[in-house]
């Protein structure tokens, strides 16, 4: 995929396939995807369960461990993270690329105080370790303040079960900020939260991008979250990227029938809708995916070649999609 010239590439995923050992007979759940992340952007990865969006993110910093296998390249600073040594990947995690998860409370150690887990992350920083005057506790309190935890000094002594879901997610973000990473991967960070708290967390992520020039990959199933937070979006289905480009293009005039279907099947808070568009059928499991386009079995726009051949990449300015029969610009769903 071509990039716009001025943007500096931070991460490049090339022909990445990921699968799990054992389940689904080792079938890949991510199948040869290409993706670029540019410095300072918020990239949204959208998809339903089983689309491979979270697995893609886990494999970037190799969190699947021995449970999964990977093929292809994940280039960060020109180095393929999938082939780097154990020591090298450990030094990338937290310091260059950090990650937060959907369920913040279970993602924190239940028997350690918030302060202890935060200080532990700070202690991994080499620049602080060489500076004898540094007060880790003080730094930790500062971080909690930055992510918007009220009364941070008192919270330092508390445990995850004493905090709300939103506060735990803020703590997770603070922990991941401790290493001052360049890229933050946020895997459905607001899915388990109430909408008013979701709005706060999304605002926090935007603030971090602005103040720390941090690059963010935001994984979500909610196109609304993408529209309000992200610069570019990649829509995934069945382990493949369907469509990929600036949010203003992908969400306003989607080319891929799947993106279109997702957009039209959810009612909107600002509009009256009569009947919802439905994507018929069910999300197929990895071993039952069709040979060609993974969406072909459920697609209203399916043509002869869809089922047996993988649709080629079409570039249209800064937007890219894989579809034999794309939707024309300006199509809207009417009952």
């Amino acid at each position: 995929m071509s990039t716009d010239q001025n943007d500096e590439l931070l991460l490049e995923i090339k022909n990445l396939s990921v699968g799990f050992n054992g389940s689904h007979k080792g079938m890949p759940v991510v199948r040869g995807i290409n993706l670029e992340v540019r410095t300072g952007e918020i990239l949204g990865i959208v998809g339903e369960s089983g689309s491979g969006k979270s697995v893609t993110c886990f494999s970037i910093i190799r969190l699947l461990g021995e449970r999964g296998w990977t093929e292809g390249e994940v280039l960060f600073d020109g180095e393929n993270l999938l082939e780097s040594s154990e020591n090298e990947i450990v030094s990338v995690r937290g310091k260059e690329i950090a990650m937060i998860f959907q369920d913040a409370q279970s993602s924190l150690n239940p028997v350690q105080s918030v302060g202890r887990q935060l200080v532990e992350a700070l202690e991994l920083r080499k620049d602080l370790a060489n500076n004898s005057s540094v007060d880790y506790k003080n730094e930790a309190v500062k971080l909690l303040g930055e992510v918007g935890i009220p009364d941070p000094e008192r919270r330092m002594k508390e445990f995850p079960h004493q905090l709300s879901g939103g506060q735990n997610q803020r703590v997770m973000i603070a922990i991941m900020l401790a290493g001052n990473p360049r890229l933050l991967i946020a895997d459905e960070p607001t899915t388990a939260l109430d909408v008013t708290i979701q709005a706060q967390i999304l605002r926090l992520l935007k603030k971090l991008r602005k103040e720390r020039n941090m690059t963010i990959i935001l994984v979500t199933h909610d196109l609304g979250v993408v529209a309000e937070t992200c610069d570019r979006a990649a829509v995934m289905y069945g382990g493949r990227i369907m469509e990929y480009g600036p949010v203003e293009e992908v969400l306003v005039s989607p080319r891929h029938p799947y993106t279109f279907g997702l957009l039209s099947s959810k009612p909107r808070i600002d509009k009256r809708s009569e009947k919802l568009y439905t994507i018929e059928g069910v999300v197929p499991s990895p071993e039952k995916l069709p040979k060609g386009c993974p969406f072909s079995e459920r697609c209203l726009y399916v043509v002869g070649s869809c089922r047996d051949n993988s649709p080629p990449l079409t570039n249209e300015g800064s937007r890219h999609y894989f579809c034999f029969n794309p939707i024309e610009e300006g199509t809207i769903w009417t009952q």
Partner: protein
């Protein structure tokens, strides 16, 4: 307090002064006190025959507890629930069974609602056996198959077991089972929250089809305001065990008046990057129900809170446009 907006239609379910408290700490030593958490503080609303009625709010607002009290899963601490003028609380035996037949439920987790070891078709007609005995077994089967087809599935699916179906198909089976007794009212507690976006639309369209065809009354409980807007004629918005606003669809979503409703609607992201709304993000979190704020429970987070709000609890009042809202700032408006 009169809770009816549209008095032209028949009242079906009337909830009055419903309160519910849960014991959270037993008395272990004689000098210790029992502790309760108050989850509902006097809920009033009336659902009219044939309408789709929504109950929305964030976690801990009491929407699910309200549903569970109506469904007789919890008994209310005080208050009354009338169904076609019959008092439901305290009803026992045959009378209860007869009335309960008319009200059916669909929950969030269809896997938990189905027996994993029984073929789904048998589970669909099981309510018929419970209520009418085993006599018409053949007819039951036929009726169950009809229903299975009407929820968009095939007869072959009936022989399967719940784990062989997808989440959306299971929820369809639960819906079919709820419909087999031909209920007058259907209570859905977060029926689509566990489903993927593309499957949610299938189930919601099905719910709308059932409403159209059978004229069934719907109580729809959800945290998803967009879906409630899409589905419900009138909607109650709850916050920390109280109703804060209650209005019909157009009034509520086009012109919300209660500051909580406003911020809640504003917090829902719109999947169109061209739309820029004013950012009115609510600060702070929902306080613990163990230590609810004084006065109006929303005042610590309210962008327009007045000094009085921390002292006096607002009552749910009818405003000139027919909606109900519980807010001192809006009361001022009524007076002037």
């Amino acid at each position: 307090m009169d809770t009816v907006i549209d008095i032209k239609t028949e009242e079906m379910l009337k909830v009055e002064n419903l309160t519910k408290k849960f014991l959270i700490k037993k008395q272990k030593m004689p000098w210790q006190k029992k502790k309760y958490v108050h989850v509902l503080n006097g809920i009033n609303f009336t659902i009219n025959e044939g309408e789709a009625f929504g109950l929305v709010g964030e976690s801990g607002c009491g929407k699910s507890t309200t549903a569970k009290v109506i469904m007789d899963i919890y008994s209310p601490t005080t208050g009354s629930i009338k169904y076609n003028s019959t008092e439901l609380t305290g009803l026992k035996g045959k009378e209860k069974k007869a009335i309960r037949k008319d009200i059916q439920y669909v929950f969030q987790d269809p896997m938990g609602a189905l027996n994993p070891r029984i073929a789904v078709i048998e589970q669909i007609y099981e309510p018929l056996i419970i209520h009418y005995g085993r006599k018409g077994h053949k007819e039951y089967y036929k009726k169950a198959v009809d229903l299975l087809e009407s929820v968009g599935m095939k007869e072959a699916h009936g022989k399967m077991y719940p784990h062989q179906l997808s989440g959306g198909q299971r929820q369809r089976v639960v819906l079919a089972r709820a419909m087999i007794l031909e209920p007058e009212m259907l209570i859905c507690d977060e029926p689509i929250s566990a489903l993927d976006v593309s499957i949610q639309a299938q189930v919601v369209n099905l719910l709308m089809k059932i409403r159209e065809e059978k004229g069934i009354t719907l109580l729809f409980i959800s945290h998803d305001l967009s879906m409630v807007r899409h589905l419900c004629d009138r909607t109650v918005v709850m916050y920390m065990g109280n109703i804060v606003e209650f209005a019909d669809r157009e009034t509520l979503f086009n012109n919300p008046l209660h500051p909580y409703t406003k911020s809640l609607i504003n917090a829902i992201p719109i999947p169109d990057p061209r739309i820029k709304r004013e950012e009115t993000i609510l600060e702070g979190e929902i306080p613990s129900l163990l230590h609810p704020p004084s006065g109006c429970r929303f005042h610590p987070r309210c962008p327009i809170a007045m000094p009085e709000c921390s002292i006096r609890e607002p009552e749910l009042k009818i405003l000139p446009d027919g909606r109900q809202a519980a807010c001192l700032a809006l009361e001022e408006g009524v007076k002037s």
